[in-house]
Amino acid sequence: MKAYQLEEVKFAISPKDSGINIGLVWKAGKLYLAMSGIMISDGNVWYEIPIEKIRDISITEDNPPRLRINIPALDIEVSGERAETLIALRHFLLPQLVARGEDEELANLVKLWGAGLHSPLLISSLMKTDERRVYHLIEKAEKEGYISGEEITEKGIDLLSEEDVAFIKKLRGEGA
């Protein structure tokens, strides 16, 4: 795998909505662009942020600029001296984000589908979203192969955490 170095940065990885102040674990490293997305290395480990998993990418501070990359379950913050590089990287990646919000909704739908809930009305109530939106998500989940009939597919299972999969199996009496 090849990568092109963009900038020397400091970075921090934090769980989304965890309430943990990750400011504690800023590391120095380098930011790279690779074919598959963004990579950050601290010299030992290469952290890969696949482009198809990025939900959002925003500038949270101006001086020094700080870029926040949001993937399911994690926020990655990157701070660098050259604002232009980070801002341009954001502009470069934004049109390419396929996940932007919808993958989390799809994962929630698949989770409920796997738990045996198939009523759009009930799903819309549980997901606190419009019923028409649920119809759209079901159609998309079928089209993209996350669900098939009343079952979730292997591809659908890949959207879920191990904890969710274990929960669904338990619910269906298949054992953890």
Partner: protein, 297 residues
């Protein structure tokens, strides 16, 4: 390139070239915005225009379109305007053409540049969205600017307008107010038409609820309007700032094709998305990372 990889560029080098182009434009936009503050008196001239033709003839509009073209964002033109909203289009948009993505909006850099200019240089906090994109099949890219109404009122209306509102609140007739302010009746009529347009007063020259809110808010504000030369009076300064800002971006652009790529040892790669999915908690994820590092040592 495969699906899930950098958006439909024919090669990694082409992707890097687009990133280089965006870096150059972002550098130029930053420099342009930093040196293009517009005095409120000029912003007011544009805000008070009621037709596209009037807006197109203001010095501010001409400056803005020249500025955006000079930083590489294409030829912008206004297509619609109302009190708190402007719609601009960019035919043959160079940003849209840089991407190979189809079926998606791509021109975030233009939206952000317009938003920065309106918010920082015009003093009009705004939100800008690309509402049509050539990459989605539109004939031209279109950007809608939604401006905070209070910011528009604060700049478009001046102390004399507030005196008129004060008089109307005390049930005075426009003629009476114009005498008190030593203002000819034509100017009074013009100012009343602007106040009506902004829904500050109604057709019967009564102050509306919006007008009351504005008046009460502004009554407690002590503000002295800043006056300074318009940026178009010294275009050389802006041009130099843009040129200087672009030098590093140009270096990036040319280096992108010359510098060797880093060969990443795939055994050392942690796919954050996969790890987050597998881990029950972030503590677990962190401990995995620490273990990797300890194993290295």
């Amino acid at each position: 390139m495969k699906e899930g990889e950098l958006g439909n560029f024919e090669s990694f080098a082409e992707g890097l070239a687009v990133l280089g182009k965006l870096t150059k434009i972002d550098s130029a936009v930053r420099a342009a915005v930093d040196s293009s503050r517009v005095p409120p008196s000029e912003v007011r001239k544009m805000l008070k225009c009621s037709t596209i033709t009037e807006i197109s003839n203001t010095p501010l509009y001409q400056f803005m379109t020249d500025l955006f073209e000079s930083v590489g964002l294409g030829q912008m033109e206004i297509v619609k305007a109302d009190n708190f909203r402007y719609v601009f289009s960019v035919p043959d948009n160079p940003i849209a053409k840089a991407y190979r993505l189809k079926g998606k909006k791509t021109c975030y850099i233009t939206s952000d540049a317009i938003e920065e200019f309106f918010t920082k240089d015009l003093g009009l906090p705004s939100e800008v969205n690309e509402t049509a994109c050539m990459n989605e099949g539109a004939e031209k890219c279109t950007f809608t600017v939604s401006i905070q109404p209070l910011a528009v009122y604060k700049i478009a209306l001046d102390a004399l307008d507030r005196e008129i509102i004060r008089g109307l609140r005390h049930s005075k007739k426009p003629e009476e107010i114009s005498q008190e302010l030593d203002m000819d009746i034509q100017e009074m009529e013009y100012r009343l038409s602007v106040l009506r347009n902004y829904k500050i007063v109604n057709r019967e020259n009564r102050v509306t609820e919006v007008g009351e809110t504005y008046y009460m808010y502004m009554k407690n504000q002590v503000s002295v309007e800043e006056d300074f030369p318009a940026p178009w009076e010294d275009m050389q300064k802006i041009t130099s700032a843009i040129a200087a800002s672009e030098s590093f971006a140009v270096a990036f652009e040319s280096a992108a094709f010359k510098e060797p790529m880093y060969e990443v040892d795939e055994e050392k790669v942690v796919n954050l998305s996969e790890e987050a999915k597998k881990s029950r908690s972030f503590a677990e994820l962190l401990s995995k990372q620490i273990n990797i590092e300890e194993d290295e040592e």
